[in-house]
């Protein structure tokens, strides 16, 4: 066994090559800041990385969806607050009208005001955001409520929607959105549920008011009729019914409020998860900067050593000693 020139230079060459390649690799890590540049860098990390990226993009989408839902809910809440004050005012008017001392002119004025309130309620019920009607179910492009010309006080039947003072052109489907993986939340209320007291709606009818619930428009119309006719018993009945109707509105409003809270907290939660996921992603694909630069310095020193050995070797030759 002997050390030949070929062996020496081959070893030096291979070693220099190895060190330069490793240095190149380290520099790439240092420059990109990522330790996962190609699949072979860490095959086990690929699935978690791609999965986390998907979750991150989904969270962005959920946050956006929830932002939109929250807008809709806020707008809805504003309208419901308005409905609340309309019902409150109607009750006051009817209480006032039930007073015996009023003249018939006064009562007519009050009845007119009730009629105006009903028109105002109709406006609230036809409220829209972004050109989409809030209380129309899936039929968000068509105006949901309109005065029913076929209405007569005598022909009114709670079990037949065709006889109601205001007719509904929407449908009974509330909008649901996905606010986190697999969790679907109803983000609005349908007009039939909120204003007409019918929890389900068939198009075309017939539809009827659920027992114990109220058609807000019918209650206002009946109150107006009772006031006009100075029907004391009717007014008393209207007072109870208006209170019930206002209560129905409050109940649904608080339901919506609860859902808005749910969306609010889900948004916070998702934003928190987002940070966690980014950390996880970083742990899989990002390089430790200090470690990377340390390694580069270490490798550069090794390269220097190898280079200096290479130059020393060529200085040593038997030819100089003969």
């Amino acid at each position: 066994m002997k050390a030949t020139q070929g062996t020496t230079y081959r070893m030096l060459g291979t070693r220099l090559n190895d060190i330069s390649l490793q240095l190149e690799e380290l520099r790439k890590i240092g420059a990109t800041g990522k330790r996962l540049n190609v699949p072979s860098d860490d095959p086990a990390a690929i699935r978690p990385v791609l999965n986390t990226r998907k979750q991150l993009s989904n969270i962005d989408r959920y946050l956006e969806t929830m932002g939109k839902s929250s807008d809709v809910m806020q707008a809805t809440d504003g309208h419901l607050g308005h409905v609340e004050s309309i019902m409150q005012r109607a009750k006051e008017i009817v209480t006032n009208a039930a007073n015996d001392t009023l003249s018939s002119e006064d009562r007519t004025t009050l009845a007119e005001e009730l009629s105006l309130l009903r028109a105002e309620l109709l406006d609230a019920a036809n409220g829209s955001v972004d050109g989409k009607y809030l209380f129309a179910g899936y039929e968000e492009d068509s105006k949901p409520f309109s005065v029913n010309p076929a209405y007569t006080a005598a022909g009114y039947n709670p079990a037949d929607s065709a006889t109601w003072p205001v007719s509904y052109q929407g449908d009974g489907n509330p909008t649901s959105l996905e606010i986190s993986a697999g969790e679907i939340v109803q983000v609005n209320l349908t007009g039939n549920d909120l204003f007409l007291g019918a929890s389900t709606w068939n198009t075309p009818g017939p539809n009827s008011i659920d027992p114990g619930r109220y058609d807000l428009f019918a209650e206002l119309t009946q109150a107006e009729e009772a006031v006009r006719a100075n029907d004391q018993a009717g007014m008393q009945q209207s007072l109870t019914d208006l209170e019930g109707a206002a209560e129905q509105n409050r109940r649904l409003r608080s339901q919506l409020g609860n859902r808005a809270d749910r969306v609010e907290s889900a948004m916070e939660y998702q934003a928190g998860v987002r940070i966690d996921l980014e950390q996880i992603l970083s742990r899989y694909e990002d390089a430790d900067a200090i470690e990377a630069f340390n390694d580069i310095v270490k490798q550069e020193t090794a390269l220097q050593a190898a280079l200096s050995v290479t130059s020393k070797v060529s200085q040593l030759s038997i030819l100089d000693y003969l």
Partner: protein
């Protein structure tokens, strides 16, 4: 009877022998950087002694043979490690490409799949939105493009490998016929009792190159001729007869044939070794497997989306339409991953609604399709679409990482063995210098001896006068 003339003769043989030896040293030095050169050395032998009155007196020295430092054990080891190295190096080129095609950047197929379902998710928030509906169709087309892109890249890669194989074959044939010629020369030289050192060195070098590309096996016969075979036993060189390798196209892929004695034998990857084996296995097994997985994903994704889409209603109120063209039963020869196309022609056909009324706010079917991203499992696996894709990428990553390790190992091993070979057969300048001094001194001493004999003869000749 001793004679000064005998002494002169002995001196002459010594001069010639030392001169010959120095020539050999010179040749060694000249070939210090020649690849595959084995150090040669003069075998010295004294000329048989002659009997002078019962005294056996030497008649000088001669070079009986020029031999080379050679260890067939090391050569064989080197040959077998070179086969391993060749096999891994045949895989490493395609793998580098595959790592680029199945990358882990933020712009791979997985992100296109995410974007596609994200568009559906966005549609749920505004099912009647024209922009959102257009977006779904557009994302569907982009997804199809992404699949087609990968499929085309795989095709290009396969084509490049085919080209490389074809190009390699020409050199292989040259090398194979070279071995046959060298076999013939070695037999002719060695029949006279000489050793054909240069020819043997050259043949070893070619065999090593053939080992790297084809993983050949070799046997030496009693005439010093080398039989070369493919690992499966197909003969490439027999004595001074060389087979030729040719390429045949089967199904768009290049395959090899060995033509010998008028018949053509097909070479399968089981019959190959070295770089060719690595390349054939990559092409016929690994890449083909990736392609099959990609097609599975393409068919599964489009079928899953279609299955839900036909249940929904477009904004025009019609139902029963597929979103993508059906690629689950394509005619043979068509690749599913290259044929993903959105079937819908108008955004009104996007079935976001789940009810026959197809009301503008109806997002039920869009919700169902958007949820496929997390709920649907591909085929019989437990993987979602993007998990299935990451599985494909991980397969490439694992194989590339393994190859990197194995290639590094094989390279180290060949370097070690080459060093071992050099340690045995290589030229060491130090050794040659010392030999040079040794033979020079021998030559000088012989000259001195001849001068002495000459003086003695002179003394004899002067006796008369």
């Amino acid at each position: 009877m001793t004679s000064l003339l005998n002494a002169l003769n002995a001196g002459k043989t010594s001069l010639l022998t030392n001169q010959k030896s120095i020539e050999i040293v010179g040749n060694n030095i000249a070939n210090v950087n020649t690849e595959g050169y084995s150090r040669q050395r003069a075998e010295l032998m004294q000329i048989p002694a002659v009997n002078f009155n019962d005294f056996f007196i030497g008649q000088g020295v001669t070079v009986s043979n020029v031999s080379r430092d050679y260890s067939s054990f090391i050569t064989r080891q080197l040959q077998s490690k070179t086969i391993d190295y060749g096999e891994e190096s045949g895989r490493s080129g395609p793998l580098t490409e595959l790592e680029r095609i199945f990358n882990v950047t933020e712009n791979n197929l997985a992100s296109q799949i995410n974007d596609f379902f994200d568009a559906w998710q966005e549609l749920t928030a505004n099912p009647s939105g024209q922009v959102e509906r257009d977006m779904v169709i557009q994302r569907g087309q982009l997804l199809g493009d992404a699949f087609a892109n990968i499929s085309n890249e795989l095709d290009t890669l396969t084509q490049n490998m085919n080209t490389e194989i074809t190009g390699e074959v020409e050199y292989l044939n040259e090398k194979i016929s070279e071995i046959a010629k060298l076999n013939d020369r070695i037999r002719l030289v060695e029949v006279t009792g000489q050793t054909a050192n240069a020819a043997r060195d050259q043949r070893d070098l070619i065999v090593q190159e053939l080992s790297e590309t084809l993983g050949v096996k070799t046997y030496t016969d009693n005439q010093g001729m080398l039989a070369v075979q493919l690992p499966g036993g197909m003969p490439l060189v027999q004595g001074n007869m060389a087979a030729t390798i040719s390429t045949v196209l089967t199904g768009g892929n290049v395959n090899l044939q060995v033509n010998i004695a008028g018949s053509a034998l097909n070479v399968t990857s089981a019959n190959l070794g070295g770089k060719m084996k690595g390349m054939f296995e990559m092409r016929d097994t690994f890449i083909a497997g990736l392609r099959a997985d990609l097609d599975t994903l393409a068919v599964d994704l489009t079928s899953a989306v279609n299955a839900e889409h036909v249940n929904g209603y477009g904004s025009d109120g019609l139902t029963g339409r597929v979103f993508f063209d059906d690629i689950s039963a394509l005619p043979p020869g068509s690749v599913p991953s290259r044929n993903i196309r959105v079937h819908l022609t108008d955004s009104s056909q996007v079935a976001a609604a789940g009810n026959p009324a197809a009301a503008p706010g109806d997002n039920e079917n869009a919700l169902t399709i958007a949820s496929l991203e997390v709920t649907h499992k591909v085929g019989t696996t437990n993987d979602t679409f993007d998990n299935f894709f990451s599985q494909i990428v991980a397969t490439v990553g694992i194989e590339a990482a393994r190859n990197e390790l194995a290639l590094g190992g094989a390279q180290d091993a060949t370097v070690q063995l080459q060093n071992l070979r050099d340690g045995y057969s290589g030229v060491s300048l130090e050794e040659e210098m010392i030999d040079l001094i040794q033979y020079q001194r021998g030559f000088e001493s012989s000259a001195k001896f001849l001068a002495t004999v000459d003086e003695m003869m002179n003394a004899l000749l002067q006796l008369k006068g």
